[in-house]
């Protein structure tokens, strides 16, 4: 048992490792700054950030489509710059802005991609196609955005890659299919594979990912498990006052933020650590009602964005 664990520690290089990875476009746009990231094998990693945060830039660096200004990255223990071909053999990728040839049918296109890989398990290709309901017999230009996206997903999964990199994969898919894609990702992880999933919406990843990295303006703000994010114990507080909202600025209390203010009602976000100070301040006024409940993940997420904004 101990020997086996030792073996694992030696042989199991991380699925993704970046060290001081930077990308500056045209000498000016600092799209990615000093990214240090480690994604382990067997996990689904959510890479979250608003539009323009640097998600696609990171992914293109990983696939060696663009070259880093500084730093390095490795996939499955293979350096992206010098061993990129070998790395990409074992990776499946869905671009964020998928463009497909017009004239080919889905089947022709997938066939040509499979031959480009040299080795594709046709049964697996058919299975994924069937599960996603991909339309294979019509020219790609006649397909809707969602149906083209399905073709893109099939090619990302069809060769049973050890690492699947998906750039905002469920854009344009209906909720039922989003569930199917989620199931595909969970299966890859269950079999020991790794999924790197970028998204601008927490909702998309919170039911899929084991861990989440949050990126903002090219900087990784935070990495935590989904459970860990939840346990940040951010409280959503609603206070109704008898004589209107007092002039007092509650956001002077460390960590507290005023979300909304009406005539006699205030909504606040506050971490548990700030609750004592908040309640003591509130107690100086006449209160009609006070509700405190755990914030949901989206609010925690937005709060993290805000903090990063303030810092940057």
């Amino acid at each position: 048992m101990e020997a086996r664990q030792y073996d694992r520690a030696v042989t199991a290089t991380p699925a993704i490792e970046t060290v001081g990875l930077c990308k500056t476009y045209g000498g000016k746009v600092r799209a990615l700054v000093d990214l240090d990231l480690r994604v382990e094998r067997g996990e689904v990693f959510g890479y979250l950030g608003p539009n323009g945060a640097g998600k696609s830039t990171t992914i293109r660096l990983l696939l060696d489509l663009i070259h880093p200004t500084e730093g390095r990255a490795a996939l499955l223990g293979l350096e992206t710059r010098s061993q990129g071909v070998e790395a990409r053999r074992r990776v499946g990728y869905l671009p964020g802005d998928l463009r497909l040839p017009d004239r080919l049918t889905g089947a022709e296109f997938l066939g040509s991609l499979a031959r480009l890989r040299g080795h594709v398990d046709e049964a697996r290709r058919d299975e994924v196609s069937a599960r996603l309901g991909a339309i294979l017999d019509r020219p790609l230009r006649h397909l809707s955005k969602g149906n083209r996206q399905k073709i893109g997903l099939v090619q990302a999964f069809m060769h049973r890659p050890e690492l699947v990199v998906l750039d905002e994969p469920t854009a344009g898919l209906d909720p039922l299919l989003q569930g199917e894609v989620r199931a595909l990702m969970r299966e890859v992880a269950a079999e020991g594979g790794t999924v790197f999933l970028s998204s601008h919406s927490l909702d998309e990843v919170q039911h899929t990912a084991d861990r989440v990295g949050i990126i903002r303006s090219g900087r990784l703000v935070d990495v935590d498990s989904v459970a860990g994010l939840r346990s940040r114990s951010l409280r959503r507080v609603r206070v109704a006052f008898a004589n209107g909202v007092p002039r007092e600025r509650f956001d002077r209390i460390e960590g507290v933020r005023v979300v909304e203010e009406q005539a006699s009602l205030v909504r606040l976000l506050a971490p548990e650590t700030a609750m004592d100070g908040l309640v003591k301040t509130l107690a100086e006024h006449t209160i009609v009602d006070l509700v405190s409940e755990p914030a949901d993940l989206e609010e925690i997420f937005l709060e993290l964005y805000r903090e990063a904004d303030g810092a940057g």
């Binding site: 696939l63 663009i66 071909v85 990409r88 053999r89 802005d97 463009r99 890989r117």
Partner: protein, 267 residues
Amino acid sequence: MPVELAVGALRDSRRGIAAWCVGVAAYVAMVAAIYPSVETSPEFNELVERYPEVLKSLFGIVEGGDITSGPGFVDVELFSFMLPLLLLVLAIGYGARTLAGEEDAGRLELLLAYPLRRRASVVAKGAALAAQIAVVSVAGWATLLVIDPLVGLALDFGNLCAAFVGVAVLALFHGWLALGVGAAVPSRALAIAVPAGAAALGYLVNGLHDLAGWLAPFRFVSPFWLVGSSPLQTGIDAAGTLVVLAAAVVVLAGGALLLERRDLQTP
């Protein structure tokens, strides 16, 4: 596997290639079919004699050459302008479309995320281009070969083969130049403009250096001059053709290496 890239590219453009073959064969047949009426009309020679010197020079109408002879007629009517033009249009168009055009359209991102070396994909696309030029050239060559006995052109078989090798190499050079430029810089416009400009200059230098003496030193860099005009009357310049072929390899390889060093452009 890069081979699949070349094969796939050919498979995707099979309809286009077929159309080019039909077009080139039809044009060649039409020109050849005119020959019997030219052969028997001395006015044609007189008409051509009255062409301005510039045109005669451009079309390779040489003093003492007989354009009412089969080889002379085919040289002037096909190989001095129209056939090279057609094949260059095919080659430059495809060379610019297959890489720079795909990148402009955002379709290169998925391809380059596959386990291929970038240089291998450039070479594969170059091979597909070479195959297209070869197929269309063979269509023209076979048409002339079949029609010759019917209209009495009396072409020399060796010169006929050499003539098509010559235009094919010219097309290959300019097509690979388009591919190489598109690999080096992500611009379809440049990938068309550079080889088209080079072709126009090379053609003019070759055609006019006799008339405008100051152009004469530049003839050595004109692929058209290196391959040689009037191939059916005098054959092609083997050494010059090899030089053009070598230059084609250099521009393709240069483009392939530059593609490896730059960022993919994404829309």
